[in-house]
């Protein structure tokens, strides 16, 4: 069988409106805005404490409405990647 995807309770979100808009959106849907993703403009790192930290499926809930918000251009639930030191 192929390796399973492991979902986390972190999301990446693209919100063109700026950090204040991103924080408002995060609060509206129960997320915590952890700030811009590195140097990528308009990309923000959201965290949701009420979803499962590690799951083999993408859990649906009220937090899923985030991707339907018109101020949100793009949403990606973060998958935990297996990385090895060489």
């Amino acid at each position: 069988s192929n390796p399973r995807t492991v979902y986390s309770n972190h999301w990446a979100v693209r919100v063109p409106g700026g950090p204040e808009v991103a924080s408002e959106l995060a609060a509206k849907y129960g997320y915590l805005n952890l700030g811009q993703v590195g140097n990528l403009e308009n990309y923000y790192h959201f965290y949701h404490s009420k979803t499962i930290k590690r799951s083999t499926y993408s859990i649906r809930g009220t937090h899923s409405f985030l991707q339907m918000d018109p101020k949100v251009e793009w949403v990606q639930q973060q998958e935990i990647k297996k990385r090895v030191k060489r």
Partner: protein, 807 residues
């Protein structure tokens, strides 16, 4: 090998004498230091004002050998979301990796502690990001930490090297790479150095790692002290260069800083090599801070060398560069890097051209090779996209397949350079195939982009797969990256070079100045080969003494996948001389000599092929109407009556219509009742009893006339004594068959005898001997009767008459 020199630098760091890859330690013995790091230092380059950051599990910032060069602005803790990249300590020292990598780059020199880093005056930081859940966000954050401040990011990790994983950066990390090369270093582009895969034992292939497979990263592999392939090494076409690393137990190891303020020689794998190259690039950036991210890759391609590195697939590409799938362009040369960097002129801007996009699906059949070609003008008609000279080549494919590990993919450039984009991976049983996966090769670096590119896909099923299931190539796209003009062969390129070192002792810290003071030399910067060229080299000179290092040729240039590229006086067998371009062009497969490259332009054939005079082609077998003459290696015509002949023109096997085979000859068909007489070359009459025959005699009938019976190749009016007449389906006449043994006359069916020979009596349609059995008593006869033995022909002689007479 470089003879030890007493004037070389000496440091008081305790393991300095063990750092064989940096310098020669024993003055009386020959040693190995082809990376020429010491020579780069002697030119005054030590990484000053260059910032390197290690993306890993943390860096021990208070390690005595790192504290002096540690830079907090080049550091961050992504896992803990703070500024301190110190590793998490545990009983297993699990997080030692980053500290070990950092020491190789910038451990302080001459501080009586542990080692000397390659760029021992560079600033070193750490980004702690592996000690926790690694997600796309984590990677993107890490790759985008202060891109205007950090010059070089070094990463010695990647997707699992288990030989069955296909994984790479997510969308955010990819964006971080793109932003980094576009905007980092104030527009010059961040430098990303990556350790190639460590899955050699698992037969992994590093093109399944999207990080090393990216054009934005410099993928580095390793070699052992003696130039052997380390057990952990993977091969692929995206590896750019190589450094030394630890190898077999009998070969010397790499020494570096370890966790808890220690020193170690336990660091191994390609993790050793990426930081080494990061340090060497730091030296180059000190020599020329204006190098952009592509300049650095060009420098590595230009200065790396194959030296003693052992690989079975060293080839010279169309640009004259030696390259292999194990080592890329070879062992890095720090001195050559800094010398070239000093005089480097920025390469022309990068152009991107989609050479071809083919959406026609093709089945990939087991044990077969599919080959699809595309001719491209490399966007010559689109100014902003024209790629005349190749840098990276990317092939994006979508393939469905029941077992991905059975696939092998190659790409052949117009110059004939063959890049193995994917090798078979024994452990990859996935049925997911490849979805828009991008395979990258650097093997065509410097070649002309225009021409025919060939993609080959081979399916070699393993034993565990149903060989009837097929894969499908759904789509492939060829993307060319490069420049519209030659990157550095221009008239204005050769600047006057500085002939003195461009540092003074006052620029250095006092302690280091004291070290350098006694060792400074004014070195003539002579970096071009000045020895004699091979006689076949033309007027442009050469890079070395062999015919493979000529810049142009007097007579012809011979190039190919297997032979490499070299100058020759005459083209060998299998090639034709293209006088106009002064190149040897390969003849069509099977041709020994030819007057063109086409299938119908052969003059003579290779062994095992036959020359077809009518079509000027070489084939394995001869066409209908011809036979293979082994002595002449030609296909010669058969006799005009033969459709197929063997060995000789008149040794027919199959005749044309209107002819019949007579022996080994094809003779004209004759009318019924006649036969072809070769002596008179006409049809003669058969014997009157024959309807068809081979001759005129009465015993040469093949078919009998009406109402005649065939008996021993003769046609007779009736069957003789002891024979009966039988009709055979399909034959126009009857045949005489023998009656059963001892029978003189039998029924028409032949089953029952009617009259027996003398001495035999007729019994139930069979002839039994007249003799009686002396031992046929009542019980015996009862057995014969009860077993009905007399009804069987086989047992009818078994005293049946005796028993019958006895009742």
């Amino acid at each position: 090998h470089i003879r030890a020199d007493q004037n070389l630098l000496y440091f008081n760091d305790p393991t300095w004498s063990n750092m064989w890859y940096l310098h020669c330690e024993n003055k009386s013995s020959r040693c190995r230091s082809e990376m020429n790091i010491m020579a780069a230092w002697q030119r005054g380059y030590t990484g000053k004002n260059v910032v390197v950051s290690i993306l890993d599990d943390g860096v021990e910032r208070n390690h005595p050998d790192l504290v002096q060069n540690y830079d907090p602005f080049a550091s961050y803790d992504v896992n803990g979301d703070d500024q301190d990249p110190s590793p998490r300590y545990d009983a297993n020292n699990e997080n030692k990796h980053g500290t070990r990598c950092a020491g190789e780059v910038a451990a302080s020199a001459n501080n009586s502690y542990c080692i000397v880093g390659i760029a021992y005056n560079a600033r070193i930081g750490g980004i702690r990001m592996l000690d926790g859940d690694v997600t796309d966000v984590v990677e993107a954050k890490s790759l985008g930490i202060r891109p205007d401040y950090i010059d070089i990011y070094s990463a010695s990790w990647g997707p699992d090297d288990d030989g069955k994983t296909v994984d790479g950066p997510g969308s955010l990390a990819r964006k971080a790479f793109e932003d980094g090369i576009k905007k980092g270093r104030k527009g010059l582009g961040s430098i990303f150095v990556w350790a190639s895969g460590n899955g050699g034992r698992e037969r992994d292939y590093c093109s399944c790692d999207g990080y090393t497979n990216s054009i934005y990263t410099i993928s580095i592999s390793s070699t052992t002290e003696n130039g052997y392939k380390p057990w952990y090494l993977e091969e692929c076409a995206s590896t750019l260069a190589t450094t030394y690393s630890s190898g077999a137990f009998y070969e010397r190891k790499i020494v570096t800083t370890d966790l808890r303020q220690r020193c170690t020689d336990d660091h191994t794998g390609t993790s050793v090599s990426a930081p080494m190259v990061a340090g060497i690039i730091a030296l180059a950036l000190e020599a020329n801070p204006l190098l952009n991210w592509r300049d650095v890759q060009h420098l590595l391609v230009k200065t790396s060398r194959s030296v003693h590195l052992r690989a079975p697939d060293w080839r010279t590409n169309g640009a004259g560069r030696k390259v292999s799938h194990l080592y890329g362009f070879g062992l890095v040369d720090a001195e050559a890097m800094v010398v070239e960097a000093k005089k480097w002129r920025t390469v022309p801007s990068q152009h991107v051209c989609v050479g071809t996009s083919d959406k026609r699906p093709r089945f990939i059949r087991a044990d077969q090779l599919i080959r699809t070609t595309a001719h491209t003008n490399a966007c010559a008609d689109r100014g902003g996209q024209h790629v005349a000279y190749v840098e990276h080549v990317v092939v994006q494919v979508t393939i469905s397949h029941p077992r991905r590990g059975d696939l092998q993919i190659n790409l052949i450039s117009p110059s004939g350079t063959k890049s193995q984009l994917l090798g078979r991976r024994t452990f990859d049983y996935s049925n997911e195939g490849f979805k828009n996966w991008e395979f990258m090769t650097v093997h065509c670096w410097g070649e002309k982009a225009e021409g025919e590119w060939t993609l080959e896909i081979q399916d070699i099923p393993s034993q565990l797969r149903n060989p009837e299931t097929q894969g499908k190539l759904k789509e492939w796209t060829l993307i060319l990256y490069g420049t519209a003009e030659h990157p550095y062969h221009s008239a204005s390129f050769h600047h006057s070079r500085s002939r003195t070192l461009d540092i003074s002792a006052s620029d250095l810290e006092p302690s280091k100045a004291a070290v350098f003071q006694g060792h400074l030399e004014f070195i003539e910067e002579e970096d071009e080969y000045i020895g004699p060229c091979h006689p076949e080299c033309g007027d442009r000179g050469c890079d070395g003494p062999s015919e493979e290092q000529c810049l142009n040729c007097v007579h012809y240039s011979l190039g190919g996948v297997k032979t490499g590229r070299k100058c020759v006086s005459a083209c060998p067998s299998g090639f034709m001389a293209d006088v106009a371009s002064r190149r040897c062009r390969r003849c069509h497969r099977g041709c020994e000599t030819c007057f063109g490259r086409g299938q119908n332009q052969c003059s003579s054939c290779k062994r095992g092929f036959y020359f077809q005079m009518e079509t000027n082609s070489c084939t394995i077998s001869c066409s209908a109407g011809t036979y293979a003459d082994d002595s002449l290696k030609h296909c010669l015509k058969c006799h005009q009556n033969c459709r197929k002949c063997i060995g000789y023109p008149d040794r027919c096997a199959v005749c044309k219509d209107g002819f019949s085979l007579s022996g080994s000859m094809c003779v004209p068909d004759c009318e019924q009742g006649t036969f072809y007489n070769p002596a008179f070359m006409k049809c003669d009459k058969c014997h009157s009893s024959c309807q068809a025959c081979l001759g005129s005699g009465k015993d040469q009938c093949t078919q009998c006339a009406k109402d005649f019976h065939l008996h021993d190749w003769r046609c007779v009016p009736f069957c003789g004594q002891g024979f009966y007449s039988e009709e055979i389906p399909g034959l126009p006449h009857k045949v005489c068959r023998r009656c059963e043994e001892n029978c003189v006359s039998c029924e028409a069916t032949g089953k029952n005898c009617v009259r027996c020979k003398e001495g035999y009596s007729l019994l139930s349609g069979s002839c039994v001997t007249n003799h009686t059995c002396s031992n046929a008593d009542e019980m015996f006869c009862e057995m014969v009767k009860s077993s009905k033995l007399c009804e069987r022909k086989l047992f009818i002689q078994f005293c049946c008459r005796t028993c019958l007479l006895a009742g």
